[in-house]
Amino acid sequence: MVRSVFKSFLNLPKTITNISILTPSFYRPNSISISRSYSTPRIYLSVGKKIGSLFSVPVGEQFQEFGSLFSAKYSTNGDGSADSGIGGREYLLMSDEELMKQCELSTFKASGPGGQHRNKRESAVRLKHSPTGIIAQAVEDRSQHMNRASALSRLRALLALKVRNNIDLDTYTPPQELLQILPAKSTIRGSNCGPQIGPNNPKFALGMQALLDLLFAVEGSVSDAAKKLGLSTGALSRLLLSDDNLRMAVNEFRVSKGIKPLK
């Protein structure tokens, strides 16, 4: 139901170009760690066989079938099947349960029989989102259950950062979830938006995704995006720099377009 509404709204092409995947790299996102942790939260992104072989992923070899299924699934994504035009926004609108259904979950490949044989407190969880091949994992919490929750929350952030929705600039009006993350001084932000939503709010991911969609559509120009959002260039820059993930995603894209990164 939701799906059909957004499909027409998003007007997504059925080829793989509807998913813009940034340069593969692994992040050290300080701002989306939700659990109390000492060790650095780690997120690894695998984007298929070709890239996966060029970039070594630190703990990848400990997992089973790391990234190998992706290219097969990737190609079926563009073969014109009914679900091939799903955009990132729809993934983020899914409930945790729905999103989990799209994921393969595995723990670190057990060396040995596991269960009662083992006491190693390795409660790491790895989630692979099958439609996009995006992988999120969490290792730092003390229970597997909690790591699963952390991994899912990271997956949402990664989906927001990595999966783009196409937008039409001529008819563009910012969606509500984007307005909600804008500072109050935005001239197009109505009073019904409530207080500004920050990076710690679970709703931030949707707004961040919409903001990145716009920035990609305007080829990375902060001033062009700012105009669409009723903000000064400076105010939008500050927003983009306020979250580490957002900043890195924007700067990676700007660098790829030959624009200097925001500082």
Partner: protein
């Protein structure tokens, strides 16, 4: 009608927790009555780190034990559990603390030295060192004599949840967790049952029964979970045929493999909870046999096994030896891809 089987259980539960068992409170709930200084704590931490680093991969090579990276993570958790204030002492090393400023801790500095020595030199399981294990969204008290609940076993609660969603009758019925240990499964399940759903948790070990009762109290579930000391189905005889669900993580390691276990398990955890006899399946077979008369028609069971081979054997055993008694019997794999569980339903 329902009360008829609940009442006798609450009577028994009064007598269950063994009075002779000395319970150890988890470190993180003990009062922070000890004081030390930042500089002394730092000294301890440096000592502990260097002791840990010296392990390298020796344990890993010796018996597939923890390497120093895992041990360092545990050390951080020990700090987390031991320190009252300042909480951020190690989390934010950039914050400058006055070395003479006072720190409130839940064990004396001498105890912290001793505890970490035990962890590394005696291979005492980390969970016994801090007296708790984080399992699902629970923090359960554990101590010597009680099996430390494993991450694999977390999945049984999800399997039960799936079964309940399919058949709401299961939500309000009587469940049993056989060989409950710390009470993990009983508590996990009690939290997803409806207002009249109940769990009876049995364990032969008086220590386990006492620890399970303590954990049940921690989660305010005395009304829902009744702990009874005794072997498998024995304490449940009065409720024969009344159970809508049975779960268990029984001992399943073949006796010959006990000697080769990683030191944390083999040297410190109760053999009673690990050793499943020559094939490892003595208790699992006993459970499968007992389930026939204990379960109501349509009732659900989920048992953890040693993995692939045992699960295959047991499914085959049920299908041939218990023919017609169960339906939808299947294996379920854990997150590492091992066929870790068998589940099924009592035929209607």
């Amino acid at each position: 009608m329902r009360l008829s089987f609940i009442r006798p259980i609450s009577c028994y539960s009064v007598s269950s927790p063994a009075t002779s068992v000395k319970l150890q409170k988890p470190l993180f709930v003990r009062p922070p009555t000890f004081k030390t200084t930042i500089s002394d704590l730092k000294k301890w931490h440096l000592w502990a780190k260097s002791l840990t680093s010296s392990v390298g991969s020796t344990f890993l090579e010796l018996d597939n034990g923890p390497d120093s990276e895992l041990l360092l993570r545990e050390l951080n958790w020990l700090v987390e559990d031991a320190i009252q204030t300042p909480k951020s002492f190690l989390q934010q090393p950039h914050i400058k603390y006055n070395d003479n400023s006072s720190v409130s801790i839940r064990a004396s500095l001498e105890q912290l030295y001793m505890l970490w020595k035990q962890r590394v030199e005696e291979r005492r399981p980390f969970q016994y060192v801090v007296g708790c294990e984080h399992w699902r969204d629970l923090v359960l008290s554990v101590q010597e004599g009680v099996l430390i609940p494993r991450p694999e076993t977390e999945l049984i609660v999800d399997l039960v949840n799936d079964a309940i969603k399919e058949n709401e009758e299961l939500r309000e019925g009587l469940w049993a967790d056989l060989g409950t240990g710390s009470g993990a499964l009983a508590i996990g399940i009690a939290r997803i049952l409806g207002s009249s759903g109940r769990v009876v948790a049995t364990d032969l070990s008086p220590v386990a029964a006492a620890v399970a009762s303590y954990n049940v109290q921690t989660y305010d579930l005395e009304e829902k979970v009744h702990v009874k000391q005794g072997s498998w189905f024995e304490p449940l005889r009065d409720n024969d045929g009344e159970f809508v669900g049975l779960v268990s993580n029984p001992p399943y390691i073949p006796s010959k493999d006990i000697g080769g276990l990683q030191a944390e398990v083999g040297r410190h955890e109760p053999r009673l909870a690990l050793d499943g006899g020559a094939s490892g399946m003595n208790d699992l077979i006993h459970l499968c046999n007992g389930a026939v008369s204990m379960l109501k028609p349509g009732g659900f069971f989920a048992f953890e096994t040693n993995g692939d081979e045992q699960s295959k054997f047991l499914v085959h055993y049920i299908e041939t030896k218990k023919q017609g008694n169960f339906s939808k019997v299947k294996m379920v794999s854990d997150f590492a891809g091992i066929q870790r569980f068998i589940t099924g339903f009592r035929g209607r």
